[in-house]
Subunit: 181 residues, 2 copies
């Protein structure tokens, strides 16, 4: 694929992914404000944006099946091993670069809610990188990974695949709140 069109698809994928997410948040708000049909519209269009994002994302693989233009950046659809490596790269960037930098600025500026939200993410991403690595090791030896239940804390995103603790080790929420996959 031509790099300029690949760039544009990446940008459009970013816009659609963010619209998908914004509309989910605004749907909840509309319902709380007493506008259930507006909430329904936000949810429906959020789903439409998922269709668009997925279409752009999968278009980034070219007709010969070449994934090389996008695999390094973790974009586009490769083999499951490649996709796991893309996921690991993204998580490590957030753990090693993005969140430490942003949290330092938020602390400098005394932005408490931002510090809290970004610290939750930073701690969860460390676990994500480890879990994806475990999955990639299994896939690269030709096996599925041995995770039968995965728990996620709905407050901070803590993720556990090898048995969850009784209380969230990141934010302190009770295990009963965890969402099970």
């Amino acid at each position: 694929m031509n790099p300029m069109t690949a760039d544009n698809l990446r940008s459009a994928f970013g816009g659609e992914s963010q619209a998908h997410m914004r509309y989910l948040v605004w749907a909840d708000k509309a319902e709380k404000d007493g506008f259930p049909n507006v909430g329904r519209l936000f949810k429906a269009i959020s789903y439409a944006e998922q269709i668009h994002a997925t279409g752009h994302f999968t278009a980034m693989k070219d007709e010969s099946g070449d994934f090389s233009v996008t695999a390094g950046a973790g974009f586009g659809l490769g083999s499951t091993s490649e996709n796991l490596q893309g996921a690991i790269n993204g998580e490590l960037f957030e753990v090693e670069q993005m969140y430490p930098a942003y949290i330092a600025v938020a602390e400098l500026q005394g932005e408490k809610q931002a510090i809290r939200s970004m610290n939750f993410a930073l701690e969860a991403e460390k676990l994500h990188a480890e879990l994806y690595q475990e999955a990639k090791d299994a896939v690269d030896s030709g096996k599925d990974v041995d995770f039968n239940e995965v728990y996620v804390c709905p407050i901070c995103g803590y993720t556990a695949a090898n048995g969850a603790e009784d209380k969230c080790p990141i934010c302190g929420a009770k295990k009963e709140l965890f969402k099970k996959f």
Copy 2:
């Protein structure tokens, strides 16, 4: 909120929203490749990224409830009327600026799959802008909007709230495929 921290939250929101979406696509691929537990892991972590994105997005409203730093860009959590205006602005940007520019480049470069995916989005966004405007007009006059069923085409994102056509007018898919909200 300090503009530098607001910028960082916006950037982190973008990263988390895209990770959420990538992981959903990669989950399907892992299942197709015969790795159901890897698929489960991708889905669980996709949900964790939704938690992070939502946390960053709602943190963009400062402690005094001031939304002004972010409302113009359609970021952060405002009133439902403000959120609908943010949605309309985003849709119109895509319809009037982003997709026409990207599609022109894709045509110049002969990128068929990109043209198809971006044309689907362009046509659907026109409808999204209209539906959000209808919703905003209702909310601004103190009422919920009169949409009891919203249909979305899972191929192209066509969205209909005032009765769906028998065939998707954008991509030709049959109405039976539409997802109902």
